[in-house]
Amino acid sequence: MIRVRVPGTLAYRNLALRVVAAATKMIGNAECEPSPALEELEAQTVSAVGEAFNNIAIHAYKGVAPGEIDVLIESDAERVVVEMTDTGASFDPSTVAVPELDELPENGMGLFIIRSFMDEVTYAAGPPKNVLRLVKRRAPGPEPRLQDGASEAEVTVETGAKRATADDP
């Protein structure tokens, strides 16, 4: 298990992504052989984590002194699991619409990238903590289910352990 914790600002994005990239190349405690499949898995995982990092720094910590972003990575022969925890504002991913790609949007693509590239995406809203869990399987997953190329993961929304306080959103 690898864990990297950085301040929740974009300046640390690159550092966190480098750790994730390195972690995708480890199976347990051994480095795996380079391969096109590994490169693809790395590219997709780094893309998803990068978008999630942006969202925490830009949205979850918007207008407040940024807390930390805690990134936990578990990588074995079957899959890579990344858990990203923040202490900022929560949101409800199920309300985020799929972008209309034909209209050439200039934003609103982050969650789509995350869902498309990952096999499982789970968001547990805080407070006290929001946890986004991404799972990418190493073995080739099921065939793409979308009509148009991208295979989107299902997003499960959980409610985090709520504190019994009045300031819950």
Partner: protein
């Protein structure tokens, strides 16, 4: 991120190297805006040394594309590879941009 713009008659070449993400996208914005304002008609974006892009980076390139096209110009992408290629494909931009 590093970039270089080169004009050659009617053609503009914009090379973007390294990482084009939420950190560096704002740095390339003014360059893109200038290309639009000057109504350049034949723009080539060379991403052969682009290592990593995120949705903010894509946003800047799409913005360039749409505005140049609005003036009757064209934006081509060359050299796309690795992670940026995967992102362009996922967002179906490989169908939008002429990639010679």
């Amino acid at each position: 991120m590093k970039f270089a713009r080169e004009d050659n008659g009617a053609e503009t070449m914009l090379r973007i190297d390294g990482t084009l993400d939420a950190v560096s996208a704002p740095e390339i914005r003014p360059v893109v805006d200038a290309i639009v304002t000057e109504e350049r008609k034949a723009v080539t974006v060379d991403l052969g040394n682009l290592r990593l892009i995120d949705s903010s980076g894509v946003g800047v390139i799409v913005s360039l594309f749409k505005r140049v096209r609005a003036h009757g110009g064209e934006v081509k992408i060359v050299g796309l590879r690795d992670q940026p290629k995967a992102i362009f494909k996922l967002l179906r931009l490989d169908r939008v941009f002429p990639t010679p």
